[in-house]
């Protein structure tokens, strides 16, 4: 009933408006907490901002951030690829599922600390061990999610692919992966977060750079401002990736869905 033409641009306006509002409220809440908690235990957003600027100027922040992002990216790609393959295989074949199930649960429930330490001890304190350890921590999570997604695949569409003799690759691209879309999105997002948590540990235990290393150094001095500074810097990078990359891709991939008013 509203004139149709206005709908789209109004939507776009609302969209950024709400995002900005959300950010403002976030900063206000933070400031309020800082006031209540006292400077020592909770620095204000401004102080953290100042720290970020100073640390960036010193060249430290960007260096650590770059190392961490590179590790996150590498581990992410490896974990998503391997985890998805395992998950689909387990979801499709009962045999593989029964066999691999317990391995998956054991791996899932092995502390990151244990995996990391063993990786370092066996393969040395190097980038490959670090990234491998992170990926190994994340693979079972991806696999578990993708397995559920594969189990929820629509057998009716499979039958269509079967009678029309689609090639395995076509099936994957056009039938399977689109159905796994939301599972992929979920495990990519929470996966990035998990990886980042593990990267911190991995850096803490065996690297000489990266945000995890930096955060731990400052933790020794209980420098909450610095810890929050690094944390905020990383989260900001993730926000940018999310809004500039992930969400547009997601919107495009799910444009076929009928949206509710």
């Amino acid at each position: 009933m509203a004139p149709d033409g206005a709908g789209r641009s109004r939507g776009a306006l609302n969209r950024s408006g709400l995002r900005v509002l959300s950010l403002v409220v976030f900063l206000l809440v933070w400031e309020a907490i800082a006031l209540l908690a006292g400077r020592a235990t909770m620095p204000s957003p401004l102080e953290v901002g100042r720290f970020i600027v100073a640390e960036t100027a010193a060249g430290e922040l960007l260096r650590h951030l770059a190392y961490t992002l590179a590790r996150v990216a590498a581990a992410f790609v490896i974990a998503m690829a391997i985890g998805t393959a395992i998950g689909i295989a387990m979801g499709r074949s009962q045999l593989i599922d029964l066999f691999g199930d317990s391995w998956l649960i054991v791996l899932l429930n092995t502390p990151a600390l244990v995996i990391t330490v063993l990786a370092y001890v066996w393969f040395g304190l190097n980038e490959a061990a670090a990234i491998g350890a992170v990926a190994l921590n994340k693979i079972p999570n991806v696999a578990v999610t993708m397995r559920e997604g594969t189990r929820a695949l629509d057998p009716k569409l499979d039958e269509v692919a079967e009678v029309y003799r689609m090639s395995a690759l076509d099936r994957l691209r056009h039938v399977v992966l689109p159905q796994l879309g939301s599972y992929l999105a979920a495990s990519a997002r929470s996966g990035l977060a998990l990886i980042w948590k593990v990267v911190l540990l991995v850096e803490l235990l065996g690297r000489s750079n990266g945000v995890g290393y930096a955060i731990h150094l400052h933790f020794q001095n209980f420098d909450v401002t610095a810890i929050l500074g690094y944390s905020v810097a990383f989260a900001t990078v993730m926000l940018v990736i999310e809004y500039a990359l992930v969400q547009p891709v997601e919107r495009h991939a799910s444009r076929w869905r009928i949206r509710h008013a």
Partner: protein
């Protein structure tokens, strides 16, 4: 990364794992600044790590040739067939801190109090104080008080806010607290002396794989030499301290002074034989209090832990 094999790198190179803001890095920075390593015929390569855990992993993985760790750990590795040798680095130890105005005056006052313990249940200081409290005041701190284990910075903060009544902290944390007007209830070495230990025991030291040490005695000798010279420089020169001050992360002058004083107090000054004898005694006591969970299979300090190259010299 075999034990005893050592790295096949050039004989005179030595990789040292240090914590960026840790006390070892104060020393290595002096060494590097004055070229003390080269003078002693060894080239030290510094590998910065984020935590003690990281240092131990790096050492286990053979990524560094030496780290500073405690003698108990060295003994345990040796007893578990991973022989190491040890060169004393510092005798500074942690202590129990309480607020300046705290009613806690003696160990007996800890009864019913919340005590933060930085190193966990098997921390050597914690065990020693436990033993001493049992002996002197007849209280079992694990039962009669409420120990809280946790990360040192967190415990320091909790002591400052009053959530904890006392905290057993590593010496650098204790120094910071001291600068803020906190009081030492009882230093570690005082407890040790109560158990018949004669002098300061250097419980921290450089640890090397025995095989590496055997193959590269010159490197070890060089490090020991450089370390001694660096300590001497620090003991005698205000300028040196000003130079490493940024690394110390001292937020004010009082903290800086406290850190400096404690560091200098901890410089090993006794012949290694005396050290070893006291260490043996202390080890036996700790083994008794802590049992196998603390010291592992070895009930006594294994022989040959103290690097033979130091004997008679130092």
């Amino acid at each position: 990364t075999g034990w005893g094999a050592g790295t096949a790198a050039a004989a005179e190179r030595l990789k040292v794992g240090v914590l960026k803001f840790g006390t070892v890095s104060w020393e290595t920075s002096v060494i590097k600044a004055h070229g003390l390593d080269a003078a002693a015929g060894v080239e030290i390569e510094i590998v910065e790590l984020a935590s003690n855990d990281a240092a131990r992993i790096a050492f286990q993985a053979g990524e560094v040739d030496t780290i500073v760790s405690d003698v108990l750990w060295a003994a345990r590795l040796t007893a578990e067939n991973r022989p190491v040798v040890y060169i004393p680095f510092s005798a500074t130890e942690g202590s129990i801190m309480v607020a300046a105005g705290s009613p806690i005056r003696t160990l007996a006052d800890l009864k019913g109090k919340k005590i933060g313990v930085a190193g966990g249940a098997l921390d050597k200081g914690w065990l020693l104080i436990q033993g001493y409290a049992r002996q002197s005041a007849g209280i079992d701190l694990t039962r009669d008080a409420e120990p809280v284990f946790g990360a040192p910075p967190l415990l320091q903060q909790k002591l400052e806010t009053g959530e904890l009544d006392a905290a057993l902290l590593f010496w650098n944390f204790a120094a910071r607290l001291e600068a803020k007007g906190f009081r030492e209830l009882m230093p570690f070495d005082e407890a040790a002396r109560k158990f018949g230990i004669e002098g300061n025991v250097s419980l921290l030291g450089y640890v090397f794989r025995a095989g590496f040490a055997a193959e590269h005695p010159a490197a070890l000798k060089g490090l020991a030499e450089a370390s001694r010279k660096a300590k001497a420089l620090l003991a005698g020169s205000e300028a040196e301290w000003q130079r490493i001050r940024p690394q110390m992360r001292a937020e004010d002058d009082a903290t800086f002074q406290a850190l400096r004083r404690r560091f200098l107090d901890g410089i090993p000054k006794r012949p290694v034989e005396a050290e070893q004898a006291d260490a043996r005694r202390l080890y036996a006591i700790l083994a008794e209090i802590g049992g196998e969970r603390l010291v592992g299979p070895a009930r006594t300090l294994p022989d040959g832990i103290y690097w033979s190259g130091l004997k008679g010299g130092s």
